[in-house]
């Protein structure tokens, strides 16, 4: 789904942001890009969405070679990529519903599809009740869920998230991760750049650790720090399929999306406040 071969990115002025990175991310994978600020996480995300081209090396995004793709075909590629950012990037003069519908409107989707898809995705992120509110009246976590709904409403093959929980408190972050996990379970490849230890350690997904533009570690079911430093939790916490009462719900992604008893529905922020105890065990998020 995403394939990087010996990718190097040097910015104007000679700053080497990414150096000789090779990665192969398969369909349906959930990958964390971790590392300190300046390690090249955001640059990799931008390369993966073809917002920028590598100085050297090759990138294939959903089967398309990024450097060979003509600029006029970039929009078509972008429709198969959803993007989520730390700063939400919501339009303040549109309601929650309109912000999500915008992604379908501007890609020429028929009105009937918009009318059926937008409520469904708002339900998935648990914001059905807030459809008509302006983004500024929402909490940070709610705003980020709107931006995830917008990224997902066109059912992309790949979802790229650059520090999606960077502005959110740990409890709210859990709600966000729950939704990203749902989306991943529909078959969407998710790549998330983060430096949130707690989340990475709790999810136990593939971890690609970057340091000064190089891949230092690429580990499936990994944790944030090297395994010797961070104490591993006994059981990997699966945020998405853990219900309020703690019982594990092995429902498939499709049933999760279609069922009325969506775990993210309702008041997720209230719900997740009961869960950080699980995260606290894995270490400090800061």
């Amino acid at each position: 789904m995403l394939r990087l071969e010996n990718v190097t990115k040097v910015y104007d002025g000679g700053v080497v942001a990414v150096k000789d990175v090779s990665l192969d991310i398969n369909k349906g994978e959930f990958v964390f890009l971790v590392g300190p600020s300046g390690s090249g996480k955001s640059t990799l995300i931008r390369l993966m969405m073809r917002d920028d081209l590598p100085t050297n090396g090759d990138i294939w995004i959903a089967g398309k070679h990024a450097s060979d793709l003509s600029p006029w075909k970039v929009p078509q590629l972008r429709r198969s990529i959803g993007t989520v950012f730390q700063d939400f990037k919501l339009l303040p003069n549109k309601t929650v519903y309109e912000n999500v519908a915008f992604a379908m409107e501007v890609t020429g989707k028929p009105r009937s599809a918009i009318n059926s898809q937008v409520p469904q995705v708002l339900k998935l992120v648990g914001l059905s009740a807030m459809a008509d509110r302006p983004p500024r009246s929402l909490s940070g976590g709610e705003q980020q869920r709107v931006s995830i709904a917008r990224a997902f409403v066109n059912r992309p093959l790949i979802l790229l998230a650059d520090e999606p929980t960077g502005n959110l408190d740990p409890a709210t972050s859990v709600g966000i991760m729950r939704i990203l996990d749902h989306i991943n379970r529909t078959g969407t490849t998710v790549v998330m750049a983060t430096h949130d230890h707690a989340i990475v350690d709790a999810m136990r997904r593939r971890v690609v650790q970057l340091d000064r533009g190089r891949v230092m570690r690429d580990e499936s079911r990994g944790v944030y720090g090297s395994s010797s430093v961070v104490e591993e939790p006994e059981e990997p916490v699966d945020l998405a399929v853990t219900d309020d009462d703690g019982t594990t719900n092995p429902a498939s992604a499709e049933t999760v999306l279609d069922t009325d008893e969506n775990p993210a529905e309702g008041t997720p922020d209230d719900k997740v406040t009961s869960e950080p105890t699980e995260l606290a065990a894995t270490g400090d998020a800061g």
Partner: protein, 296 residues
Amino acid sequence: MTGLSYTLREAFTNISRNGLVVLGAVLAVFVSLTLTFGTLVLGEVVRINTLQWAEDVRVSAYIRDDVSPSGIASMQAEMESWSEVDEVFFMSRTEALAEARVLLANRPAALRVIEDDPSIVPPSLRIKPVDPEDYQTIVTRAEAMPGLLKVESAAEAIDGMISLRDGLQIMTLFLAVALGIAAVALIANTIHMAIYSRREEIEIMNLVGASNWFVRTPFLLEGAFEGFVGAGLAVLVVVGGIRIASNQLTDLPDFVNIAIQSDYIVRNGALVLIFGVVAGLVGSGLSLTVHKYLRT
């Protein structure tokens, strides 16, 4: 057709959102094109009048008394063979006297001199040039012929007319180019501001994969619309101006004609409108090309 309705809605939403800036651009186009169109029309008035006067441009070759009628006929035949010459006709002394009586009706003293001695009004060949500007060539060639007293033309009057006409044409061209550039620049600036004020939406459109045309068309439409409205106002003002002028200026001298063919107005009015739309498209196109929020 959500695409089309979206495009139109966005174009007009933006016009209403940035009302003052849009008004500024429309006024700039309006003033530019009013001046340009006005100068064009003025040039046309001068052209029509110089055409009329040029109709009357003649070179007069006065004939010596000792030339026989057959000699005059052969001179006339020779002149008619010149390529610069349209036609030549002979004016006898009697006809010349009749003309002088008309021309000098207000100057009895001068007329009396002629009446006293009709021999000072010689017979002449009146030569009509094909192109009024060629009169000097005809004068030179005629002066080389024997049997002529003097060759004359309304040289200064013709030169004055021609230089006025050429001057107006150059001025029109210069104004049209300078003001056209100004109109394009002002529309480009308006669209630049429109893009800036919508940079967040454009960023998201680029993120979610809106096609390049989808992002750009509302701005092109907006520019074209502003150019069209400005040009439309200019046409209305100039046409109105012509109407008022032809109604008010009834006591002009007979030889000045301000009646302009309506097909000239229609043809050039349409050109001005097209120019307005093109200026709008070029202006917004320029903005779209250079704007950093639109780079992919």
